[in-house]
């Protein structure tokens, strides 16, 4: 297997908070790669850096050997990396169906888009099919702003599938989703993977992660602590430490915050 995504030495701070602190990891082509770690360990920030929504302070991201850091979300998407958001970002004043159609626009020549009606050429049918898969087809005509959080998560996944990028970055796809749907979600992710997609997935639901991932990276304090197969990750003592050590670290963090506040 070959490395598709290479992250090396990413640093990213927000004010005094070091969200990423020399984060390095490699995602192999064709892998379902899990990203786990305690709250605040930098998983979402890493996604933001990978997809061009944030510029890192230092470090590099390579896709197929080409540096893609700092090129912006539009270009990253065009290179074939699509993502969902932990806190969903759907177009709240567009209908659910129009949300789907927006994600298909990049497949068309821009000038022609001015004269096309959205949804032509089987796009509408494909959109309905994908909405049906995630179970919200009956809401197609509704404004996306009227959806619940879990439904928005499903819509975001569905429109990402509509956009059809080669690499999918999913930030807690099962969060807020009806538990009866989670197994189906896992199946779909596996299916996408067999169809050739590389998938990087952040998820707190351990059963879900262990069930679908070929590799898992554990993040801790802005760094990749280790990367291994699920069985090895499960039994590694460092992982337990990272999760349980949280309490101690929080104490330290609070200390740091207090010191900072005092120096102002």
């Amino acid at each position: 297997m070959t490395a598709l995504l290479e992250v090396s030495g990413i640093e990213k701070s927000f004010g005094g908070i070091r969200a990423l602190n020399g984060c390095s990891l490699t995602v192999e082509r064709g892998m379902i790669h899990g990203l786990i770690g305690p709250n605040g360990s930098g998983k979402t920030t890493l996604f933001n850096v990978l997809t061009g929504y944030e510029n890192p302070d230092a470090g590099e991201v390579r896709l197929d050997g080409v540096v893609i850091t700092g090129i912006g979300p539009g270009k990253v998407f065009r290179l074939g990396i699509g993502r969902t958001f932990q806190l969903t970002r759907v177009f709240i004043r567009l209908s659910v169906l129009d949300n789907m159609l927006i994600a298909a626009q990049h497949q068309h020549k821009w000038l022609r888009s001015a004269l096309r009606s959205p949804g032509q050429g089987g796009e509408r049918a494909k959109a309905m099919e994908l909405l049906d898969f995630v179970g919200i087809a009956r809401l197609a005509e509704l404004e996306a702003g009227a959806l619940s959080y879990g439904q928005r998560k499903l819509l975001e996944l569905a429109y990402l599938l509509m956009a059809d990028p080669d690499v999918l970055l999913l930030d807690e796809p099962a969060g807020g989703v009806n538990p009866t749907l989670i197994n189906q979600l896992a199946d779909k992710i596996k299916e996408l993977n067999s169809a050739g997609k590389t998938i990087l997935v952040v998820e707190h639901n351990m059963e879900f992660v262990m069930g679908i991932c070929g590799r898992i990276t554990v993040m801790h304090q802005g760094r990749a602590l280790l990367t291994d197969v699920p069985a090895a990750v499960r039994s590694d003592p460092r992982v337990l430490d990272a999760y349980l050590g949280g309490a101690e670290d929080e104490g330290l963090e609070a200390e740091a915050v207090r010191t900072e506040g005092g120096s102002k």
Partner: protein, 362 residues
């Protein structure tokens, strides 16, 4: 064309009837009301319906609140006056053909303005458009081709029959309105229009899904300057004399914004309704009370009242009410109940001014 045939939602009979009735009323209006004072009010009403529609077609749909569209009105007016004078064109109906020329020159100005102003975030954009507006007004006062504060005289067709003098202007304004509404009706149904609405909701996310946001925004901005530039030319021809402050008029953008918000921002019919009502009132007060500024008070009161009772504007609120009464809304209501109500309040204030201006801060 494919756009027209491939539309999923057919136009309702009721809507079609309203459109046909409106066209008929507009067509016969000057034949019934022959008083020149009345037709003049009507000309302004049509002109402001068209320009509000264009303003909404950019600002309402993209969420970029422009307060500088009067620049294109002024550029159109000056283009008209300068060409007519320099080429000593005869004062006749042939001059109406200069309207599209003025519109194109306004588009050139819009490319330049948009290339700068649209690089900024929404809040900054508002401020920049105000700045650009005053730069153009200042140019109007200081350039030699605009003759500064003394303004430009425009050829007036004195040989036209006094009783029907306004009619050619009236029908030119009506054609401008028809063109503008048709243009935005098509855009609203195109993929381009959908992309514009996605930018309004979450620009960065749209970008991250491959929408060419910069091109879409700039195109929408430039397209909207075309009807406004044509209106400027028509205004110059009608009034016969232009000054920097009458065509680069800071109250135009305010009017367009208020007309749009009152009628319903982001809708096709909203700016038309707001335009016809508010502009008619303004012209009426102007004419019969000969008080040029009292309309501002009326605007303020109407605006506050409408925003208080129907924050989305008249058209969306009344439209929803009608649909609910007819029962066509059953499906939507049922779906809302299924869809969980926890977040439904978020979509509520969609059309309001706050909704438009605050979207940028992401």
């Amino acid at each position: 064309m494919a756009i027209l045939s491939a539309k999923a939602k057919p136009i309702s009979k009721g809507k079609a009837a309203v459109v046909v009735a409106a066209i008929a009323v507009i067509a016969v209006f000057p034949l019934v009301f022959t008083n020149p004072a009345v037709t003049e009010i009507a000309i302004f009403a049509l002109m402001f319906m068209a320009t509000s529609e264009a303003w909404n077609g950019f600002a309402g749909w993209s969420g970029y609140f422009s307060l500088g569209h009067a620049v294109f009105f002024g550029v159109g007016a000056y283009t008209f006056a300068i060409i007519a004078n320099d080429y000593k064109l005869p004062a006749g109906s042939g001059l109406f053909l200069l309207m599209p020329v003025a519109g194109v020159v306004a588009m050139v100005a819009a490319v330049l303005v948009g290339a700068v102003a649209l690089r900024t975030k929404r809040h900054t954009f508002v401020v920049i458009t105000i700045g650009v507006f005053f730069i153009f007004q200042l140019l109007g006062y200081n350039l030699s081709i605009t003759a500064g504060a003394s303004g430009l005289q425009v050829p007036t067709p004195y040989n036209w029959n006094a009783a029907t003098f306004n009619n050619p202007f009236y029908y030119a304004a009506a054609i401008l309105l028809g063109f503008t509404v048709g243009l935005y009706w098509i855009i609203r149904r195109s993929a381009f229009g959908l992309q514009l609405l996605a930018i309004r909701d979450d620009e960065e996310r749209a970008k991250g899904l491959g929408v060419p946001v910069w091109r879409v925004k700039l195109s929408a901005f430039v397209i909207s300057s075309f009807p406004v530039g044509m209106a400027g030319a028509l205004f110059a021809f009608l009034i016969g004399q232009i000054y920097p402050n009458t065509v680069f008029n800071p109250l135009f953008d305010l009017s367009w914004a208020l007309m749009t918000l009152v009628g319903g921002i982001g809708t096709i019919a909203g700016p038309l309704l707001g335009g016809v009502v508010l502009e008619s009132v303004q012209q009426y007060l102007n004419l019969y009370l000969s008080n040029a500024d009292i309309y501002l008070i009326v605007y303020g009161v109407v605006f506050l009242a409408v925003m208080f009772w129907m924050p989305r504007g008249v058209v969306p609120t009344v439209g929803d009410a009608l649909r609910r009464r007819r029962g066509a809304g059953e499906a939507t209501i049922a779906a809302t109940n299924n869809g969980g109500t926890d977040s439904s309040s978020e979509g509520k204030a969609t059309g309001s001014l706050a909704g438009v201006v605050q979207e940028g801060g992401k």
